[in-house]
């Protein structure tokens, strides 16, 4: 029952993204694609992960005992779709657009949701810190590189994205470090 609800939730997110006005609005700016569309597609996949039949999850878990295979799969596929070249291609070539819309939920969001709980806390910490540092590095790159990396977007949008990424990195860093002090270590969050 609740699994079905997650599937509906994921489908709902994807349906909103595909609405022509939303699609046009998001794809009209680089921020919309990189910090809007791509993360929402991943979240949709994350929700789909909860809707999988239990037996299938158990079978997957044999292959994904410590969660690392799922994490590595998600990271490599996400990296691929973050390449400026893929961003351009997914906007200009219908087949690649379809590939992006399938791969981000199914090969990034879903493996993440199936692997996250299984990951060692240290691995999770590495993911957190790397996410922050990658956001800063990419943001700094987008701010300082004088050439447009995407043919589909303006330089000013690239700079705006850079600023936004650095801002996001600061917010995430603040959030995660605050949580360290405010909440107890979230190893067993369900015992309360």
């Amino acid at each position: 029952m609740s699994g079905k609800r997650y599937a509906v939730g994921g489908a709902f997110f994807m349906a909103i993204l595909v609405l022509p006005p939303v699609l046009r609005w998001m794809e009209s700016s680089m921020i919309g694609v990189m910090l809007g569309q791509i993360p929402v597609l991943v979240v949709a996949g994350w929700l789909f992960g909860f809707a999988l039949p239990r037996r299938f999850i158990e079978w997957l878990n044999c292959w994904n005992e410590n969660g690392l295979p799922g994490l590595l799969l998600a990271i490599s596929v996400l990296t691929f779709w973050l390449l400026p070249r893929s961003v351009d291609a997914s906007l200009n070539e219908p087949l690649l657009r379809l590939a992006k819309w399938m791969m981000l939920p199914l090969l990034v969001g879903m493996p993440l949701s199936l692997s996250w709980k299984r990951l060692h806390p240290i691995a999770r910490g590495i993911v957190h810190t790397n996410a922050i540092s990658m956001l800063v590095v990419m943001g700094w790159l987008y701010l300082s590189v004088p050439v447009r990396v995407c043919n589909s977007y303006l330089l000013s949008q690239q700079n705006a994205l850079g600023r936004m990424m650095i801002a996001l990195a600061i917010v995430l860093a603040a959030f995660w470090s605050l949580r360290l002090f405010v909440a107890t270590t979230p190893n067993e969050p369900t015992t309360r």
Binding site: W63, N64, G70, L73, I75, R85, N92, N151
Partner: protein, 211 residues
């Protein structure tokens, strides 16, 4: 055990995906990918009818065995096009003083066929000191032909909503067989001049050998 196998498999898959997606970690943007592809395999230009600043129509065939260095602009452009044209001017001046001046002609193609009438192009030519013979300004009156040409060259033109356009800029070298053989950065004229001199000299020497 199965977990380890899965890690190895995902690593292989991820590496393969990124290797494939970047042409072996060489092309991270579509612009570099395009340049690499052209360098490896020159592409034949589509047949288009161009109209120059005097209102004369011409096509690639009329280039009389010359190479062409082309670029894409629109005359009302105020950000990147002036830089592109000034740099093209530098290359034009340098090549005119080289022994290969008769082997290369220059072409600024406007993608704003609506506004860039021959009069506007003529004005533009005067502004940048183009002689109108070796360096011509042109537009492609047929919309469909223009689109085909832009697609083939890898030029993406986006209207910015204020009557202008955002577009990727570069210099495109066309050889005598009407093929696109090189795409150069627009902001490094010295490198373009060096490469052009090298290519044109190579061509000249191969001709001597043939005779």
């Amino acid at each position: 055990m199965r977990n380890t196998i899965a890690i190895v498999l995902t690593l292989v898959f991820g590496f393969g995906l990124l290797w494939h997606g970047t042409d072996g970690f060489r092309a991270f943007t579509s612009e570099t990918a395009r340049r690499l592809a052209i360098l490896q395999e020159p592409k034949l230009l589509p047949a288009v009818q161009l109209e120059d600043q005097n209102g004369h129509t011409f096509s690639w065939q009329d280039q009389r065995g010359q190479w062409v260095l082309a670029t894409f602009i629109y005359t009302r452009c105020s950000d990147v096009c002036p830089v592109v044209e000034m740099n093209l001017r530098r290359i034009y001046d340098a090549i005119r003083q080289s022994p290969h001046s008769h082997r290369l002609s220059f072409l600024s193609i406007s993608f704003d066929s609506q506004n860039d009438t021959p009069e506007m192009l003529m004005h533009h030519a005067h502004h940048y000191g183009a002689d109108g013979v070796t360096w011509r300004m042109a537009r492609v009156p047929n919309e469909r032909e223009l689109q085909r040409l832009l697609n083939m060259m890898g030029v993406i033109v986006i209207p910015d909503g204020k009557g202008g356009y955002e577009h990727n800029a570069a210099f495109y070298l066309l050889d005598k067989k009407r093929r696109l053989v090189r795409i150069f950065d627009y902001n490094n004229p010295q490198a373009v001049i060096a490469e052009l001199n090298h290519l044109l000299a190579k061509e000249a020497s191969s001709k001597v050998v043939k005779k």
